[in-house]
């Protein structure tokens, strides 16, 4: 197992946001985390990446307690992409090179530069290498953030709505890139998604959150009309167009 979450609970003052979450992720898994706004998806992801500290429970990464690992060591194992990334006056290459920060002692080595270039290539961003980040569109900036996480060479990617600000073409492209990275690099990805159809098409594991609790988790078999209706309070039909599974609200 790359990731094991045991009894994880998190609360903001006076409000428990995540209650007793238990699940695990193996190498090669593309886990989509689904649920309504405010269900606790981002909070759960932040607890896994130690951006937030849970008040109860444990997160194991590759068998080690993530809460007691050094931050630098954890950053070598987990690549975290936040929902919002700041648009700063730095080049795209430098922004991606920053992903090598956990490995850099004094100055970026030739190897670090090559890894950054590979990550840019993977996200098809090479042509923007020396453009300033604040000159790119929101979607392109989102891809830069993913490339930075890839440059960390992690065994687990935690992505908070990576497709939310992308157009349809880029949504499909990014989902494909994540899927390919998971298979080729033999890593795992936990991805918060709002588009159920995109999730059902690319992910192989699903975790449905409702009011801070895991409603259900598992393979494609948990994505039934009944479960989706219970989580989103919307009537749906689950069908197929050719080989592609689709969820249609009715």
């Amino acid at each position: 197992m790359i990731l094991t979450v045991e009894g994880l609970s998190f609360k903001y003052p006076g409000r428990e946001v995540i209650r007793d979450a238990n699940f695990s992720v193996s190498k090669g898994d593309f886990l989509a985390v689904l649920g309504t706004n405010g269900a606790g998806k981002s909070t759960l992801l932040k607890c896994m990446g130690r951006v937030l500290k849970p008040y109860k429970g444990t997160v194991y990464v590759g068998g080690d307690d993530a809460l007691s690992l050094g931050r630098r060591e954890l950053a070598k194992r987990i690549g975290y992409v936040a929902q919002r990334n700041e648009s700063v006056r730095t080049t795209v290459f430098d922004a991606v090179l920053l992903g090598r920060k956990p490995y850099i002692q004094w100055e970026a080595s030739q190897k670090d530069l090559e890894i950054a270039r590979e990550a840019l290539q993977m996200l098809e961003l090479e042509k923007y290498s020396l453009r300033y980040l604040n000159e790119l569109s929101g979607g392109e900036q989102q891809k830069v953030a993913i490339a930075r996480a890839m440059a960390q060479k992690p065994e687990l990617l935690l992505l908070d709505e990576p497709t939310s600000s992308l157009d349809l073409k880029n949504q499909l492209e990014v989902a494909k890139i994540i899927k390919r990275a998971v298979k080729d690099r033999h890593i795992a990805a936990v991805v918060i998604m709002h588009d159920v159809n995109l999730a059902i098409r690319f992910a192989d594991k699903f975790l449905l959150l409702k009011d801070g609790e895991i409603f259900t988790a598992g393979g494609i078999e948990v994505m039934t009309a009944g479960n989706i209706e219970d989580v989103y309070s919307v009537r749906v039909q689950v069908g197929r167009i050719g080989d592609v599974p689709v969820v249609v609200p009715v």
């Binding site: 630098r72 990334n85 730095t90 020396l130 996480a149």
Partner: protein, 364 residues
């Protein structure tokens, strides 16, 4: 075409790792150019002044072959002043650069947290309550500080007290930038009010001495103060340079920085502590010098970008250049009258800052 347009043109033209090497080489060239400009400005500064020395006399004095008078003017008056301008300018500018990053606020500067006001309060306390300043006669240079070490010590101690209060208050809110800025604004008002109250009950001569102290003046430092400032600011620069990758990560957002292994609270606490320490030392020794900490990093951000590997040294050098040029102007504009350098930096800094602001706005 402005220099940042050249920068953008380079940015679009080149790609790949090779292009990146060329791109960073240009940033290094900008830093070398700043060194050269400081050297040229220093040569002008050492030749400028009310004592009528020609270039040959200056060169002889610098090399140790001058007359006693020229040696005194060069080695005891002009050179300490020039070195102090280079060091204090670097310190104030780099402190502003780190504060802008740590507080996530492009308007942050050494005066944002009220450290300068706290130092001014300390100086007023020393001069007015403890009698460390007075007026000797009615001449132009009449105001004297009887015991400059007491004033400097009071200014420094109160600046550090101000910093400690701000950091303790901010600690309650996890060192969030908002908490630090708000605590700074509140403390700034409190120390200003304290200064006003002290001055209200003071005699005219004491007020004059206190006001004179607040004028930024590089002429009040001797080699001893220059060496203390140099040690402190050099060590701080090393600290900031060691943290440069952390500051780059912080620029990408707090969550991203945490995801990259940065202990955000510790980096902020350390950055603000060291930046405040530099400010406290600089203000205590040379008085209040505005705008260097705001304008220096802003100019360099537009030229070398936001990468702190280049921005930190470039900001320090730009601060040195700005303060050195301002001080030379202060000494020569109405010679033999020496204007307060703090007034010159604010006088030229404010329009320059507005220009940068307008230019940034029209670009958007």
């Amino acid at each position: 075409m402005g220099i940042n347009h050249f920068e953008q043109a380079w940015a679009r033209k080149e790609s790949s790792v090779l292009g990146y090497h060329k791109f960073t080489a240009r940033k290094k060239a900008v830093i070398m150019l700043l060194f050269l400009l400081i050297a040229i400005a220093s040569m002008f500064a050492v030749n400028a002044g009310s004592a009528e020395l020609n270039v040959l006399q200056v060169v002889q004095a610098v090399l140790g072959y001058g007359t006693d008078i020229s040696a005194l003017v060069i080695w005891q008056i002009r050179l300490p002043r020039i070195v102090a301008a280079i060091i204090a300018g670097a310190g104030l500018s780099v402190a502003g650069c780190v504060m802008q990053n740590n507080l996530r606020n492009p308007l942050a500067s050494p005066s944002t947290l009220g450290i300068s006001n706290a130092a001014a309060f300390g100086a007023n306390l020393a001069i007015i309550v403890f009698g460390a300043g007075s007026i000797q006669s009615a001449g132009a240079d009449a105001v004297i500080i009887n015991n400059p070490y007491v004033v400097t010590s009071f200014a420094f101690v109160w600046a550090m007290v101000g910093m400690a209060i701000i950091l303790l208050l901010a600690r309650l809110r996890g060192f969030s930038p908002e908490a630090m800025v708000l605590a700074g604004v509140a403390l700034s008002s409190l120390f200003s009010a304290g200064t006003m109250l002290i001055q209200y009950f003071a005699q005219d001569v004491q007020i004059a001495a206190a006001v004179f102290w607040t004028f930024g003046d590089l002429g009040r430092v001797s080699w001893r103060e220059v060496i203390i400032l140099a040690c402190l600011i050099s060590l701080s620069l090393v600290y900031f340079i060691l943290r440069r990758w952390d500051y780059n990560a912080l620029d990408s957002g707090e969550e991203t920085a945490k995801g990259l292994g940065v202990h955000v609270e510790n980096v902020r606490l350390g950055g603000m502590f060291v930046a405040s320490l530099i400010t406290a030392a600089a203000v205590s020794f040379v008085g209040i010098i505005g705008f260097i900490g705001l304008v220096g990093p802003q100019i360099m951000r537009r030229i070398v970008g936001g990468d702190h590997r280049y921005l930190i040294p470039a900001s320090a050098l730009m601060g040195s250049l700005l303060l050195l040029v301002s001080d030379t102007l202060a000494r020569t504009m109405l010679a033999p009258v020496v204007l307060p350098v703090g007034a010159i930096t604010s006088f030229f800094g404010a329009p320059l800052f507005l220009y940068l602001l307008a230019r940034g706005h029209s670009k958007k």
